[in-house]
Amino acid sequence: MLDFDLFEQTYEKCLKCNACVVNCPVSNTTLDFGGPKHLGPELKRLVNQQQTIDDKRIELCTLCGNCDMSCPENVHVSTLTAYAKAIHSDQSGTKFRDFVLSNAETVGKLASSFGPITNLAMGMKPVRKVMEMVMDIPAERQFPKYRFKNFKRIYHKKTAGTKRKVAYFVGCYATYNAPEVAESFIKVMKYNGIEVAVPDQKCCGVPMFANGQMTQGLKNANYNINSLLEYTRQGYDVVLTCTSCTMALKKEYVSFLKSAGAKELASHVYDADEYLRLLKDSGELNMDLSPMKEKAGYYAPCHMKAQGIGNPAMDILELIPGYEIQDVGAGCCGQCGTFGFKKEKYDVSMRIGKPMAEAVKEVNADYTVTECGMCKNQLDQLTDKVVKHPMQILAEAYDSYR
C-alpha cells in the first residue's frame, strides 16, 4: 500500500462550515462528487492513524483550489484531496487514458514532432471516434494544436548577462502548443532590458497530481527544484507565463514536499504580470507602450486567483494608453486541465463552463484575455471570441511604439 508521508495537520481546524462546498465548482454542478469537505478534512480526520480508505468519489475533484481560497480557517483542503486522489489511483489503478493525459510533456514531445499530422488527425471525426472508443476521450472535445516548431526548437539560451536575470519556466503548454506566448514573453523582457534563460525543466507536475500520479509528480517537482535553485542562487528570478505551473512552484511543491528547497524556490517565483508589476513599482518598467483602442474581457483562471496577488494581468494591461479591460467575473472554466478531456466528465465540464461562456457574452468585449492555456481551450470551445495571452498584447504594444 502506498504510504504517503503527509504531515498535514491543518484539517484539525476544519469547523465543517461548508465554505469549501459552497465555492466548489464541481459540487455546485453535480451531486455525484463527494465534495471538498467530505473528501478533504473529514476523510483525513476519519482515517488519520487508521486504515487508509480509497474513495472513488474523489475522481471528480479537479484540484482547482477554490476550496483553499474559501476556507476561513486556512485548512489546506486541496492538499488533502490531492492525496485522496493519489491513494485512489494507487489502490484502484490508473486508466491508460489518465496515464497518457497526466504525461502532458511526453504527449507534447511526441505530438509536436509530428505537429501537422497530429493536428490534422485530431481534427478528423473517424480518428476522434476511435479515440472515444479506445481512450474514453470525447469526440466533441476540441484539443489545443501542437506545433512542430515548438519553443524548445526555437530558444536555447541557458544563461543571462543582464542586471536583472530571469529564469523562465516555460511549461508544457507554451513549449508545445503556444510557442508564441513564450516568444512574446521573451520579447517583453527584452524591451525591459532583461535577458531570459531557460533552465532544464520537466513538466511542473500539475497534470500528474490531478490524475493521482503523485510519485511521478513529486519526482518532477524535485528535478525542477534542483534545477531552478541553481539559478535563483545566482540571482535569477523565476518567472512563468502559465498560472497552473506558477501555483505548483509557489504552493504545491511546498505543501507536498515541505522541503527547505521547495520553500527556498517558492520565494523567488513570479507570475509574468506580477513580475512586470514589480518592475513598475520600482520604476524600472519600460513605459513605451503604443496606444491600443481595444476592449478586452479578462477571464481569471482559478490558479491565478489562488495566488493571492490581486489581478496583475489587468494592472499591467491597463498601462497601455486607450486600452480597456474588464474582468468578466466568472468562476471556474470547467476544463480544469485534463479533467475536461475525459468522456465521463465531459458533461460536468461543459456545465461548469456554461456560466463562464455567459459571462463572456454579457461583457461582450472584442476578445478575451487569459493566462491559462487550458482555460483558453474551454473558452475556444464555448465562446466565439478570440483568446489571447497578456504577453501577446504587451509585445504588440511594445512592437508598435515609435
Partner: protein, 384 residues
C-alpha cells in the same frame, strides 16, 4: 498604490469595497476565506434576537437622533444596489416584519429578499420539506411555529427532489436543483398530489427551506406561486441558505466586474506605519510576504464570529493588525487612516456575536463616504 484597501469580504467589506470603487477609487480587497455572508440567513435584522424597532436599534448602537436619516439613506442605498444586481430586497427599517425561520421560530427582521414573505397571524399554511435535506424538518418547523402562531392552521409534507446525492445534501444543493425546470415540475406535481390526498384547499402560504433557486430564483418563485395559486416563502435556517448565497454571489461578481482587486487567500500579518498613518499592509500570500500600499484602510474583519476579534485569557485581541482594544473590542489609538466597519467596531455593536446586518450596511456606507472624502482630499485625483 491603492486609494482604499478593504480587509475582509463579509457584508461590511464587500459593501465598502463596492461603494468605494463605484465612487471612482482604486480599491483592493484582502481576505482569507470566502467571507461570512454564506453562513448567514441573508435577511437583515435590526437587533438580532430582539423585536425592537429603529428607536431601540439607535439606542443599542448609541446613535444620536441626528444620525437617523443617514441610517435610512444607507438602507435605501443597499436596496438600490440589490435591485441593480437582480436580487432586490424589500422592507423598511421603520416597519420591521415577522418571518419564519428554518427552525419554525418567528423572528423580527427588516430587510429581506423577494423570496421571503412575512408569516401571517392566522390562516392556513403548508410547510414543505425535501427528502434528504436533514436541516429542514417540516414537523419540527410546524411544532415550533404553532407556539408562536396558535391561531394558524399548519400542515406539513415532504417531497422528493428526484436526485440521488453522493454527499449530505444541503439547502444550497436543493436550490441549484430547483434552478432546473424539470425538477420544479416534478416537485409541483408531488405537492399537488399530496394536497389532494390530505384534502388541503387554498392555503394562504407555502413555507419552503431557503432553496427556491439560485440563478433562476425569480422563475422558481413565480412558477410556484402561479401553480400553487398562493404565496410561497423561504424559511432560512441552517447554512448554506440560498437567500444568503444569492446575495454573496451577486455582490462578488459586481465587485470583480467593477475592477476591485481581490487578494484572496491572504493573511494580513502586520503593517508599516508613519506615525499615526498606515502606509502599507504586510500580506502573506502562498509562500511570500508582500507589501500592499494604500491611502485609506477599511477594517471589515468582523467580531468574534467573523474572526476579527479573538477572545484570549488576557482579553480580546484584534487579529488582523494586532492593534490594542478596550475590553469591548473597540480599537484604542486607531491609526487615522484605518476605519473599522460593522462588527469590527467592537462587541458593543453585536448581539449574540452578530450585527444583524442593518448595522453592517449603515456602518459600511457611512464609513466609506467619510473615507472617500478623505481619499479625495489627500489623494488628489481619483485613479479609477
Amino acid at each position: 498604490m491603492f486609494d482604499v484597501v478593504v480587509i475582509g469580504q463579509g457584508l461590511s467589506g464587500l459593501l465598502s469595497a463596492i461603494s468605494a470603487k463605484e465612487q471612482g477609487f482604486r480599491t483592493a480587497l484582502v481576505s482569507i476565506g470566502s467571507g461570512k455572508i454564506i453562513q448567514s440567513t441573508g435577511v437583515m435584522d435590526l437587533i438580532p434576537g430582539s423585536h425592537g424597532g429603529l428607536k431601540e436599534w439607535m439606542e443599542f448602537h448609541q446613535l444620536t437622533v441626528g444620525q437617523k436619516q443617514g441610517a435610512i439613506d444607507a438602507v435605501e442605498q443597499f436596496k438600490e444596489l440589490t435591485e441593480r444586481l437582480g436580487y432586490p430586497y424589500s422592507g423598511d427599517p421603520e416597519k420591521p416584519v415577522q418571518i419564519v425561520t428554518g427552525a419554525g421560530h418567528v423572528k423580527t427582521t427588516t430587510l429581506y429578499p423577494q423570496t421571503i414573505k412575512p408569516v401571517p397571524e392566522r390562516g392556513h399554511v403548508v410547510v414543505v420539506g425535501f427528502q434528504g435535506i436533514s436541516d429542514f424538518q417540516p414537523a419540527y418547523v410546524a411544532g415550533n411555529l404553532h407556539k408562536h402562531r396558535p391561531d394558524l392552521i399548519i400542515d406539513t409534507m415532504k417531497i422528493s427532489l428526484g436526485k440521488h446525492s453522493q454527499r449530505t445534501m444541503t439547502q444550497l444543493d436543493a436550490a441549484r436543483l430547483l434552478d432546473q425546470e424539470e425538477v420544479r415540475n416534478e416537485c409541483l406535481t408531488q405537492i399537488k398530489q399530496q394536497l389532494t390526498e390530505k384534502n388541503i384547499r387554498r392555503p394562504s402560504l407555502f413555507i419552503f427551506p431557503a432553496s427556491l433557486g439560485i440563478e433562476n430564483w425569480r422563475k422558481t418563485v413565480e412558477q410556484f406561486t402561479r401553480e400553487l395559486g398562493t404565496a410561497v416563502t423561504e424559511a432560512p435556517g441552517m447554512p448554506p441558505n440560498a437567500t444568503a448565497i444569492r446575495l454573496n454571489e451577486r455582490l462578488k461578481k459586481q465587485a470583480v466586474r467593477l475592477g476591485i482587486r481581490f487578494y484572496s487567500d491572504t493573511t494580513v500579518t502586520g503593517f508599516k506605519a508613519d506615525g499615526q498613518m498606515i502606509q502599507s499592509l504586510m500580506i502573506k500570500t502562498v509562500n511570500q510576504v508582500t507589501e500592499l500600499q494604500g491611502k485609506q484602510f477599511v477594517l471589515a474583519t468582523g467580531g468574534i464570529l467573523g474572526g476579527g476579534l479573538e477572545a484570549t485569557p488576557s482579553g480580546l485581541k484584534e487579529t488582523a493588525l494586532g492593534l490594542k482594544t478596550d475590553e469591548e473590542g473597540a480599537l484604542l489609538n486607531c491609526p487615522v487612516n484605518l476605519h473599522p466597519v460593522g462588527a469590527a467596531n467592537g462587541l458593543q455593536n453585536t448581539q449574540y456575536g452578530i450585527t444583524g446586518g442593518i448595522f453592517s450596511i449603515v456602518s459600511a456606507y457611512q464609513t466609506i463616504n467619510q473615507v472617500c472624502q478623505l481619499a479625495s482630499v489627500e489623494g488628489g485625483t481619483r485613479s479609477a
